[in-house]
Amino acid sequence: MLEIKNLHARSEDTEILKGINLSVAAGEVHAIMGPNGSGKSTLAHVLAGREDYEITEGEVTYDGKDLLDMEIEERAAEGVFLAYQYPVEISGVSNKYFLKAAINSIRKHNDQPVISRSDFVSMLKEKLALLGMDKSMMDRSVNEGFSGGEKKRNEILQMAMLEPKLAVLDETDSGLDIDALKIVSEGVNALRSPERAIIVVTHYQRLLDYIVPDKVHVLAGGKIVRSGDKSLALELEDKGYSFLNEGSEAVAAS
C-alpha cells in the first residue's frame, strides 16, 4: 500500500530525512520508534503533504500512485490520515462543521453523494461513544481549550469518522493516562482491517501492548536504522537507544 524509497527531505538548510526506505502492506500495523528529533514527525508530515519540507530525493508510492505529487487535501481524500502530535486549535470553526466539511469534501472527491444529516448524526454519536467523548465537545471550536488528552482523542475521533486507508498516528499516546490510552487504542484497533494500514509513531512500548504491531522500525538521524518484529520494541524498552551507534555502523557497513 505504501512504498517509501530513499526519501530525503529538508527544511531550509537542514536535511532531516536522509534516505528512508519503508514498505507497508495493507492490513499491517507498523510502529516507528526513535529518539526525539530523529525525524519521525517530519516523515509523518511529508506523507500528509506539509509544504514546509522540500523533498530532495526519493519517491513515495501510495496505492500505486505518486503520493508526493498529490495536493494535501487530495491525499486525505484518497485515504491518508495523520493524527497530529500537536493538533491545531481553530477558533470559530466548530468540530461538527469541520467533521462534516471533511467527510463531504472527501465524498465529493470520490464522486459519492453527501452524507445525510441523520447518517452523520448517528455515526458521530457512535464514534463519540467509542472514544468516551461528550457530544457537547462537537459544538466547541476545533481543539480550542481542549486538554492534551482531549485533543488526542479528538484526532482519533476524526480518524474514526473519516475511515482512512492509511493512518499515521504521531505520538498519539503522549499525554494520555492509562485509561485514555486504552480507549484510544480500542478506537484504533476498531479500524484495523485487511484493507487498511496503520503506522504508529511512538516513544514507548506501552502503546504497543494495546496496538500490537506487525513490524517495528527504529528511526534515528533521519534514517531507519533497525527493523524487526514486536520484540524489537521490548528490546528498546529494555536497553534504550544506546545500541543505536553500533546499529547505524552496522547499517553503514552492510
Binding site: E71, A77, L82, V88, I90, G92, A101, A102, S105
Partner: protein, 440 residues
C-alpha cells in the same frame, strides 16, 4: 487655494439657504451659515492633517455634488432598494431618500406614551426637543470639515425621543437610500435621546443605486440619560463608487450603556467615526466593528472614547478583512481624564490580509492622565494561519473551503455579538455570500 474645490458646495449652499429662507427659523439659518463658514475655513481635509493621513479624500470629496432639494420616487428604483434594506416588518421604520423623509414608506408601530420616532425636519418645524441647542456639533478640530459641512446642510434625518423609563420593544430601523441620478450629496442628521432608564435598539442602513458615485455625509447624535441603554447598529452597504463619511457622537450619563455594532461593506471610501463622552460613573460601552473592503475600497474606522469620570468600562473589538488592493485604517483613541480613576478600557483590533496588495494602518492611541486604571490594547495584522489551513486540508477540505472557513471564523464573533436575530441573520447571509461558507 481651496476656493475652487469648494465651489460646488458653496453654490449648492447658497441655493439651499435661499430655498430654505421662507421656512427655516432664523437660528437655523444662522447655524448653517456659521457651519458653512467653518467648512470654508477648514477646506476639504488633506493628508497633511494627521487624522486624514491615510485617507486621501480629496479627489472624491471635491466632485461637484448636487444637494438634492426634492425627490421623485417614480421609476421603482427606490422601492427596490427599500426592499433590499428591510430587515423585519416588526421594526419601526423611518425611510429617507437622498436625505429626505419619506413618510409613506415609513412605519411606526404602536409606541409607549410620550415616545417619539419621527423625522428631524418635522421636529424642527414643531420646535420640539430643544434642537436649537442640540444641532450644533463642535468643529474645533482641524479634522472636522465634514461635520461642519453636515451642519451647514442640516435639514432632515431621524428624530427619536424616548421619555424616562420607557422600553421600546421593537428595533428602530433608519434606512438611508441614495436614489437620485448623478453626483448627489446628502447630509442626514439623526438626533436620538433616551431618558432615564429607557431602552431602545437602533439600526442604521445605508444603501444606494448603481451608477455614478454619490456622497453620504451623515451625523448621528445620541444622548443617553442615567441608566439608559441603546443598542446601536450600522450597516454600511453604499454602492461601491460612493463616498461615505459619518460620525456618531454619544453622550452618556451615569450607569448608562451604549453598544455599537458597525459593519462596513460598501463605498469606494468609507470613513466612520464614533465619539463617546462618558460623562458619569458606572458607564459601560461596547464598540464592535467589522470592515471588509475588497477591490480598491478604503475603509477608515475611528473611535474616540473620553473617560471623564471614574468607574467606567469600555470594550472595543474591531476586525478587518481586506482583499485585493483594499486599504483599511483603524484609529482608536482612548482618553482617560485625570478624574477617571478605576477606568477599565480594553481595545483590540485585528486585521486579516487576504492579498499581498491589501494594506492596513492601525493606530491605538491611549492617553492616560489618571493613575489607577486598567487599559489594554492589542493590534494584530496577519494572514490566514498556515497551520490551520494545513490542518483543515489534511482532513480533505479543499484549500478554497478551508480559507472560507477561517475567514468566516475570524469575522463570526463580531457578528455573533449582534443580539437582534433579523440583523444577525442578515449579516450571516452577507458573510456567506461574499466570503461564502457553504452548507456542508
Amino acid at each position: 487655494m481651496i476656493a475652487t474645490e469648494n465651489d460646488a458646495y458653496q453654490e449648492s449652499f447658497q441655493q439651499f439657504q435661499s430655498e430654505q429662507s421662507s421656512t427655516a427659523p432664523a437660528w437655523l439659518a444662522e447655524l448653517r451659515q456659521t457651519a458653512m463658514n467653518r467648512f470654508t475655513q477648514l477646506g476639504i481635509p488633506t493628508k497633511r492633517i494627521e487624522d486624514w493621513r491615510f485617507t486621501n479624500v480629496k479627489s472624491l470629496a471635491a466632485k461637484p455634488y448636487r444637494n438634492v432639494q426634492s425627490i421623485s420616487l417614480s421609476g421603482g428604483e427606490a422601492e427596490a432598494l427599500l426592499e433590499k434594506a428591510k430587515l423585519d416588518e416588526s421594526f419601526h421604520r423611518l425611510v429617507f431618500v437622498n436625505g429626505h423623509f419619506v413618510s409613506q414608506w415609513s412605519t411606526e408601530h404602536e409606541l409607549p406614551e410620550g415616545a417619539v420616532i419621527g423625522n428631524l425636519a418635522s421636529a424642527i418645524r414643531e420646535e420640539a426637543g430643544d434642537l436649537q441647542n442640540r444641532l450644533s456639533v463642535e468643529t474645533d478640530d482641524e479634522a472636522a470639515a465634514f461635520i461642519a459641512l453636515n451642519t451647514a446642510f442640516v435639514n432632515d434625518g431621524a428624530f427619536v425621543e424616548i421619555p424616562d423609563g420607557v422600553t421600546v420593544d421593537h428595533p428602530i430601523h433608519l434606512i438611508f437610500l441614495s436614489v437620485e441620478a448623478g453626483q448627489t450629496a446628502s447630509h442626514p442628521r439623526n438626533v436620538i435621546r433616551l431618558g432615564k432608564g429607557s431602552r431602545a435598539a437602533v439600526v442604521e442602513t445605508y444603501l444606494g443605486r448603481e451608477g455614478e458615485g454619490y456622497f453620504t455625509n451623515a451625523i448621528t447624535q445620541v444622548d443617553l440619560d442615567e441608566t439608559a441603554f441603546l443598542d446601536h447598529h450600522k450597516l454600511q452597504h453604499e454602492q461601491t463608487e460612493s463616498l461615505h463619511i459619518a460620525s456618531t457622537h454619544v453622550d452618556q450619563k451615569e450607569s448608562s450603556e451604549f453598544r455599537s455594532h458597525y459593519f462596513s461593506f460598501g463605498s469606494l471610501m468609507a470613513r466612520n467615526e464614533i465619539n463617546l463622552m462618558l460623562d458619569g460613573e458606572q458607564i459601560e460601552s461596547t464598540l464592535n466593528g467589522l470592515y471588509m473592503p475588497t477591490g480598491e475600497q478604503l475603509m477608515d474606522c475611528r473611535t474616540r472614547i473620553d473617560h471623564a469620570r471614574p468607574h467606567c468600562n469600555t470594550y472595543e473589538l474591531y476586525k478587518g478583512i481586506l482583499d485585493d488592493k483594499a486599504k483599511g485604517v483603524f484609529n482608536g483613541k482612548i482618553f482617560v481624564h485625570q478624574d477617571a480613576q478605576k477606568t477599565d478600557a480594553k481595545q483590540s483590533n485585528q486585521a486579516l490580509l487576504l492579498s499581498d496588495d491589501a494594506v492596513v494602518n492601525t493606530k491605538p492611541q491611549l492617553e492616560i492622565y489618571a493613575d489607577d486604571v486598567k487599559c489594554t490594547h492589542g493590534a494584530t495584522i496577519g494572514e490566514l494561519d498556515e497551520n490551520s489551513l494545513y490542518y483543515l486540508r489534511s482532513r480533505g477540505v479543499s484549500k478554497d473551503l478551508a480559507r472560507k472557513m477561517l475567514i468566516f471564523a475570524f469575522a463570526n464573533d463580531v457578528v455573533q455579538g449582534v443580539e437582534i436575530p433579523a440583523v444577525r441573520q442578515h449579516l450571516e447571509t452577507i458573510l456567506l455570500s461574499s466570503h461564502g461558507l457553504p452548507d456542508v
